[in-house]
């Protein structure tokens, strides 16, 4: 696996993706050290300062300030915490539900009908609409947001995992395990799960990207994280009012969202190639 990982990392694209993700993770972990200002520190005398290369900009605020005079760069750095945490936790949570249900659904044909019909019903709703209604009923906030994203994201895991299980469970090595008297739980966890974990990891990268976008969208709509916490979605939302006069308020958080989603997706490709079980 390490060898294959090294081989894949030779391509420049995976290098860029990997570096970007490292940078974002470092920002999230070290935000109090890296950020030049406090994320909430307002300075009403320095509102709408443009980025340093524009007229009126200064190196004190490299990416400028927002409508309340808060430093954009610092807010972006602090915002990476929320985005990465939301993405990671939501992917883990929905992965936990989705992988479990997918395994059960694929292996036990009696459960298959029930689980897949629930999945179909859920797929009939657009994800954002579903998230919106759940948030509208139960309220926003960090924990609830992760729960919502987990509940809305499990279907994409479950469907792929189920189809993988369906094809693996008729393979000779599973038949062999069954005829040896290995029990169902052990077959699922020890024989089937390791063979599909690569697929699950790949899906979770895409799921992470989707979760980050959904979080941003919900925050943009004012339904996600409370506005006093800096997140990229919140920043986009507050910036949109001034997009004519001060484009940098919404441009940079948008750019960050795009870059992290892109690099996570690229990383997913890299992982898929290096985690696949060897067959010959």
């Amino acid at each position: 696996m390490v060898k294959q990982f090294k081989k894949v990392m030779r391509s420049p694209i995976s290098w860029i993706a990997f570096t970007l993700i490292t940078v974002f993770v470092l920002c999230a972990v070290l935000s109090p050290i890296l950020a030049p200002y406090d994320a909430g520190a307002q300075n009403l005398r320095e509102r709408f300062v443009p980025p340093f290369w524009m007229e009126g900009g200064s190196l004190n605020h490299i990416l400028g300030t927002d409508d309340l005079g808060r430093d954009i760069l610092s807010r972006l750095i602090y915002g990476s915490r929320t985005s990465i945490a939301v993405g990671f936790l939501a992917a883990c949570f929905s992965g936990g539900i989705g992988i479990t249900l997918g395994l059960l659904s694929g292996y036990f044909s009696k459960l298959d009908g029930i689980i897949m019909r629930i999945a179909d019903i859920q797929l009939a709703f657009p994800q954002i609409l579903l998230s919106l209604s759940i948030v509208a009923i139960f309220g926003g906030g960090f924990t609830k947001l992760i729960l919502v994203l987990g509940i809305t994201g499990w279907v994409s895991y479950a469907r792929v995992i189920r189809s993988e299980v369906l094809s693996i469970k008729t393979s000779d090595y599973i038949l062999a395990a069954q005829t040896e008297g290995v029990g169902g739980a052990r077959i699922l966890l020890r024989h089937i799960l390791p063979n599909i974990i690569a697929r699950a990891v790949t899906i979770s990268t895409f799921q992470m990207a989707t979760a980050i976008i959904t979080e941003s969208s919900l925050s943009f709509l004012g339904l996600g994280i409370p506005p006093n916490v800096p997140t990229w979605g919140n920043m986009l939302q507050s910036g949109q009012l001034f997009v004519d006069s001060a484009w940098w308020l919404s441009f940079f958080p948008g750019l960050c969202i795009m870059l992290i989603v892109l690099s996570i997706n690229l990383l997913g490709d890299v992982l898929r190639d290096s985690l696949a079980p060897k067959t010959s």
Binding site: S171, D172, L175, T179, G181, P194, T279
Partner: protein, 325 residues
């Protein structure tokens, strides 16, 4: 026929019909008769070869015996015990006596498990011994089938096809079965490796008091390893006799045609080649009467209307053909 306690395996009128479902309403519109009314027995320490062309149901028969598929009707007895409807713990117990070696050594070993774990797993899962004991027993088996102890912690992809098949054999031996069903166990291997594996199987047979059911399409293999040979065609067992008897006096026209396809070096011993016309019929729509009637060079009027009954001649030679009734 023989005393019941001497038979490892007895099959009585086994039928395995797979329903064909219509695409939308999932109604059963017909059946694929993969195995149709097969009765046979395997004595202790005997090797029964089952031959037949692709799709004749020989692998299905093996899987029915392993209870991977549940037979539509009929009775399976292993060591005299009826296992046709065994479930749960009972089925687990039965399966210890009967293990399988699969055709494709690449597909029959889990790519994510170390081979040592694959071989030792059946021992501790069935609570025959603890994990440690299972490991040392598995190492013994490794040595016995011709693998090194250092191979124990390798993954399947690090082995060649022949070595993988040795792992598969070690796994089948782990539970100390009386009967091993070898489903095309050597077909995926090179000819030189085939011979090694066949010799290994022959050695193990005496050592572990095994009986084999050897399913193959390769007549040379079957001739090398079997005591008795059964010939299958379209889900039916058309002929069953001792190896020598089958090769010297084949009775069923299908067996004759099969044997005539084996190349013989000695010119004087060459048989006239019988070329069968047409393809194997669709097992969902078998010909009425004898299943072989539409391709049989000796087909008579009666063959097209009535299915031949199984006849047993004095020397134990079984055949299902109107020519002998």
């Amino acid at each position: 026929m023989t005393n019941a306690n001497q038979n490892v395996l007895e099959l009585d009128n086994i039928k395995m019909y797979f329903p064909i479902k219509s695409p939308f309403l999932k109604r059963t519109v017909g059946y694929v008769k993969a195995v149709d009314d097969i009765s046979l027995s395997i004595r202790k320490g005997e090797t029964l070869g089952i031959v037949g062309e692709s799709g004749c149901g020989k692998s299905t028969l093996g899987r029915v015996i392993m209870r991977i598929y549940n037979p539509t009707s009929g009775e399976i007895r292993i060591n005299g015990e009826d296992i046709t409807r065994a479930k749960g713990q009972e089925l687990k117990k039965v399966r210890k006596q009967c293990q399988m070696v699969f055709q494709d050594p690449f597909a029959s070993l889990n790519p994510t498990m170390r081979v040592g774990e694959i071989v030792s797993e059946p021992l501790w899962v069935n609570k025959i011994m603890d994990k440690k004991g299972a490991e040392s027993k598995a190492k013994e088996l490794f040595e016995r089938v011709g693998l090194r102890e250092s191979d124990f912690y390798k993954f399947p992809h690090e082995f060649s096809g022949g070595q993988k098949q040795r792992v598969g054999i070690a796994r089948a031996l782990a539970l100390n079965p009386n009967l091993i069903i070898a489903d095309e166990a050597v077909s995926a291997l090179d000819v030189s490796i085939q011979a090694q594996i066949l010799n290994l199987l022959n050695e193990l047979k005496a050592e572990y008091h095994l009986a084999y059911m050897f399913i193959t399409h390769n007549l040379a293999v079957v001739k090398h390893i079997s005591d008795r040979i059964g010939v299958m065609y379209l889900g039916h067992l058309v002929e069953l006799a001792d190896k020598k008897e089958i090769f010297d006096h084949p009775l069923h026209p299908y067996t004759e045609a099969l044997l005539s396809a084996v190349p013989v070096v000695d010119k004087r011993k060459r048989r006239e080649r019988i070329i069968l016309s047409g393809d194997t019929p669709n097992p969902a729509k078998p010909p009425s009467g004898c299943p072989f009637s539409n391709r049989c060079p000796k087909c008579m009027e009666i063959c097209k209307t009535a299915a031949p009954k199984k006849m047993v001649l004095e020397n134990g030679h079984q055949v299902a053909c109107h020519l002998y009734q």
